[in-house]
Symmetry: C2
Subunit: 360 residues, 2 copies
């Protein structure tokens, strides 16, 4: 990444939105995806930023995603709302489900949002952070294409299956974590390959089940769950919550559906929100939050610690003022798409997973 | 453990119940604790079986636990029930909260039970398994005495903070996991010390923050979270859910309250239950469960894998027929307590944490 182009966050959003419109997304989808992509660039989660545009466009062009499906909402129970994405990408269904989930959580104390039939290539933290901004404690679970072997086994069954959690901190950014149940993200393997570096031991096994630090062997084999049997149990829980529980697919089934290998799986997501003020007698968010701050202080007063979302918030402060640096090769391919041209959007600026060579 | 005494599960229950009555517990508490202890012996989770009786009795004798407090139930919201344990042990509050939680989850789709002011020295799987037996998906979270340093730090802040999850499998035992967010259970360290064996690398650090495999140094230092930063994030989440969210204590505060060092912390527990049939349109547990079985099959068809609760269920099948072998030294101390005598109940049949010597 020698050359780069500096863009303000407003430019990121505008470019993403216009590009998506030019490629055939409806106004609501283009806006929602641009919001998600811009939030990722803002927080320097580059894998979910402009880099991801190619995944959105490729899935649309392959006919596997709808660019205009209007999400439909259904009440399944007083405390469970369903949003059907009808094969569109998840940002719009999640935005449409947000207010109803907040309303149900405040009315019932706890509530869930089941998102079905939505393509998910975004991070989970935006939706849980948004719920925490509204004063709720939130969880999100999503499963994905099978890359991860169960503990003890060698064949991929689970996706990287992230789980996110957010805790509101009045007057500050919420505490948020969003973590894969695999040792490494898929993208981290691709970055190591691009840079010609070995993987960390423990990340993956080859097709015969032997530990490997070779990226290519890892992609042909399986990633491993974090924390051994315990991380594997969490990966399994995420499969159940985002799949069978809400009538949606397992990671393996999402993989089978992705016939064109766009890397944009269609499936389910479960979001749970709790209103803290309803979780104790005379609940008072300020008081509950102050109590939690005691915990955060005990962590942060120890050298070498940090809270999970701190890095994102520090990046946010910086990029909001200074903008972000977009790799020139990525910027060039975005300009092509913005001009309405499409000859196979490059989803590989991080390097070609097959050859390990840089795409630049 | 040379000598042992064979007991049927009925004898275990009867002994535990009568012993607790003899030591001053009320009939409802004695019955509920005996149920919990017997379930643990039945599933060969010996740390939570008869071995635990000493913790119950010691906390009562120290004046830190009530032996007769009647739990009180309050509706905090349509989908949140609270049970106040009034300083009694958790098995009775959990039993009393079970039916209301099931009823709310079925009515609202998702519901939570906040247990407050209860001493918790039991495992979490009994309550989530019981909810799954009623057809619900369930989670439980409890924090405990601070033994675990946050990732990057060296001073204990978190308890071993277990999280449990259960998934109903009609016609079979539910799938259940109940896992500490620390690398090892506290008791595993004590067992290694008793046996004169070193700890596994990665379990703990000494008081200066250096990795140690010495049990005594570990107990003076801190245990480590499983899976590095990710397990630490889960430990933090458990603290927030079982403490500030429901108006109860952090692990550190539970530790401060345990003035007599009984190892029986008083605090909160959060249980969440979801009715799967309300989580999708025309939900049908049999169909949802069948879908999940596809996942379990893909795991189990791989050599070297197992489902988290399999070991307990295999033990259950055996002990239900054959009974359990109780170490003679433990049995003798139980007989003392059964006779109504108390001269400091031994909570150390696993070995004395201070000397590393066997208590036998």
């Amino acid at each position: 990444m020698t050359d780069s182009v500096r863009m303000s966050l407003a430019q990121v959003h505008d470019t993403a939105r216009r590009l998506l419109l030019a490629q055939g997304f409806s106004e609501p989808h283009a806006e929602a995806i641009a919001n998600t992509v811009t939030a990722a660039e803002r927080d320097e989660c580059r894998h979910h930023g402009l880099f991801r545009i190619a995944f959105y466009v490729n899935a649309l062009k392959a006919g596997q995603a709808s660019g205009e499906a209007e999400p439909t909402l259904t009440d399944l129970a007083p405390a469970i709302v369903r949003v059907d994405g009808h094969n569109g990408f998840s940002p719009l269904p999640l935005e449409r489900g947000h207010a109803p989930l907040v309303e149900r959580a405040r009315a019932q104390g706890i509530a869930a949002l089941a998102v079905n039939n939505a393509l998910n290539v975004a991070a989970l933290w935006p939706e849980v952070e948004r719920l925490a901004d509204d004063g709720l404690v939130a969880f999100a679970f999503v499963s994905a294409i099978p890359y991860v072997a169960p503990y003890g086994g060698i064949k991929p069954v689970f996706g990287t299956n992230p789980m996110a959690f957010a805790w509101p901190r009045p007057g500050r950014h919420p505490l948020v974590f969003d973590q894969a149940s695999s040792m490494s993200a898929r993208g981290e393997i691709q970055i190591r390959m691009r840079d010609g570096k070995p993987l960390e031991p423990g990340w993956a096994i080859d097709a015969d089940g032997n530990p490997t630090t070779d990226g290519k062997a890892a992609l042909a084999g399986a990633q491993l769950p974090f924390g051994g049997a315990k991380g594997s149990a969490i990966a399994m829980m995420v499969e159940l919550l985002a799949g069978p529980l809400i009538g949606d697919v397992l990671s393996v089934e999402a993989g089978e559906r992705d016939v064109a290998k766009t890397g944009a799986p269609c499936g389910g997501e479960l979001v749970i929100a709790i209103d803290p003020t309803k979780a104790m007698p005379n609940g008072d968010l300020a008081r509950q939050a102050e109590h939690a701050e005691r915990l955060f202080s005990m962590i942060l007063e120890q050298e070498g610690t940090r809270l999970p979302s701190d890095r994102r918030y520090r990046a946010r402060e910086r990029t909001t003022k200074e903008g972000v640096d977009v790799p020139a090769s990525l910027h060039a391919s975005l300009m092509e798409l913005l001009a309405g041209r499409y000859s196979g959007a490059r989803a590989d600026y991080e390097g070609d997973p097959e050859t390990g060579k840089s795409a630049a």
